[in-house]
Symmetry: C2
């Protein structure tokens, strides 16, 4: 949705749910998009899926998208699709052998200066780029699903990824309206799925223990935390939830969460004293205690607006 400095050509390789969503992200920002999928049965559905993504992301079912659509070309060979690409974005099956073979081909047929990005949600980049001649230009760009709707995006380099490639990828994503986050270690599951996984595991445990139903577990998040977290992140949220900020919150509730951590056979406490000190310092540097109350009002007014918007839910499907 932003004006880009330079029109790029982005090759989308693998045109399933994620690939067609990425295509919408790049094309709506005014870039040229070249699409390829090895599964011929997929090809004819691509344009419909892409148009739906574009309409959904502008929130207007009647929007005229002819101009945007003109920027999209569907190719019948991988070579044609990537030939002119400044960035190649792969969203094929989550199989390491498939990705390894594809990246070997991409490394040969793409322009040597093109960035090679992977949408993988969990396979370490090192497992399928190690042997490449130009492995320094490979980087993981893993989106929240679907990226045309959700801006959060993990950027995960391999040990050999060039720092300039990481910087360029982060700034390109910012320019097209995504919200990129640098994941500094190739940690299993990266960061996003670890956060989601931690919440899902706890939900399954509570449902299995008969504490809440599945629908109610969803409702506790949808009608509670999610509204708050859409305005302030989970850490900032607890900082706002005690008059003395994070420090008071941790002093007051740390024991409860320590018990939770222990129940899970965690060897460490909920939060280490050194991390707690560091976070308290960060939060207080950003927002002095005397401004907490005003920030709470700001948060609450924003949440009230979100709720009014979402209250239209019941008349919708």
């Amino acid at each position: 949705m932003q004006v880009n400095k330079q029109t790029l050509t982005v090759a989308i390789v693998g045109a399933g749910v994620i690939g067609c969503s990425w295509a919408a992200v790049w094309v709506r920002a005014g870039h040229r998009v070249a699409i390829f999928d090895s599964d011929i049965s997929v090809l004819e559905g691509i344009r419909d899926r892409l148009l739906r993504n574009l309409r959904d992301s502008v929130g207007d079912p009647q929007a005229s998208l002819a101009a945007l659509e003109a920027g999209v070309v569907i190719h019948s060979t991988l070579e044609d699709a990537v030939a002119a690409a400044d960035l190649v974005h792969e969203s094929v099956a989550e199989k390491v052998e498939v990705k390894r073979e594809l990246f070997e081909r991409l490394d040969r047929v793409s322009k040597p200066e093109a960035i090679l990005a992977s949408s993988t949600s969990a396979i370490p980049l090192s497992q399928f780029t190690e042997g490449l001649l130009n492995r320094h230009r490979c980087v993981i760009v893993h989106p929240a699903t679907p990226p045309h709707t959700l801006p959060a995006t993990e950027v995960v380099p391999a040990p050999w990824t060039d720092a300039a490639v990481v910087e360029r990828t982060l700034s390109l994503l910012e320019e097209v309206g995504q919200s990129p986050v640098l994941v500094k270690k190739d940690h299993p599951g990266f960061a996003m799925n670890r956060l989601q996984g931690a919440l899902l595991i706890e939900m399954f445990r509570l449902i299995e223990a008969g504490v809440v139903t599945a629908a109610d577990a969803d409702k506790l998040v949808t009608d509670g935390f999610a509204l708050r977290w859409a305005v302030v992140g989970p850490l900032q949220a607890i900082d706002l939830n005690a008059d003395g900020g994070l420090e008071e919150y941790l002093a007051r509730y740390g024991d409860i969460y320590d018990r939770m951590a222990m129940e899970r056979h965690e060897t460490e406490r909920f939060v280490s004293p050194s991390l707690a000190r560091e976070l308290v310092k960060q939060f207080r540097d950003q927002l002095p205690l005397e401004q907490l109350e005003a920030k709470r009002s700001w948060r609450d007014q924003r949440i009230a607006k979100l709720k009014r918007l979402l209250a239209k839910k019941d008349s919708d499907r």
Copy 2:
């Protein structure tokens, strides 16, 4: 915000952040509110805090609240505050001795048919109501913070809580616009804080391991999951994120999450096969696979609207 069938008198005992937020919930729905706090220094700030909560929750800083304010009386003794109450809502310090002593008094000085509700976030109800003459009318009503902004509310009975009291509490909360969830077992941490705790613990781990910064950990939730979860809960979200629904999602990503569960020394898998089967059945009964794509469009259009609303962020404080 809803028309209530009958005007009630609700006594708010403990007028800190949570008490004044609950007061706003009840008074904006047209009920009479009687407030008491044993800390005299708190009393003079109550009206300001309550007015701010009401303004924030209607989202209009200029709103005239005289009519609502007329429904609020601040009392100087506990006895006066609870004398006429149909529901007494306690939000005092999270100390079991304090609550035990207070509930003993409440049981003596309130109308025998009044519901006695506690906002405790973690102390089992059985620990401070066991010895009461009328313990059958005690129930935990634990809000997401703050309740005048966030509807999600846990209702947790003790083994001796009357089923009719639970039903009445759930329906009163629905009537005043909250989103109550029955927590069927007095599980440590109930359900809400266990969900939040699971996410926070994982965030702290990732920050401590140097994978992401604290600000980026917040951003991954704020600009990603929270937008999705405000529209569809975490379980429904994964159901929508594979063409074959939850069944395909679990088959495809279950291994990743199983590894996460094992790393935490969990003895069980991410999700047991029997729970997985039951959830797949529930989700398919609610939404046949052929309607998944249309539901995704609906989700994405709603998220696009939320994003537009939140994009005003930068011009705000």
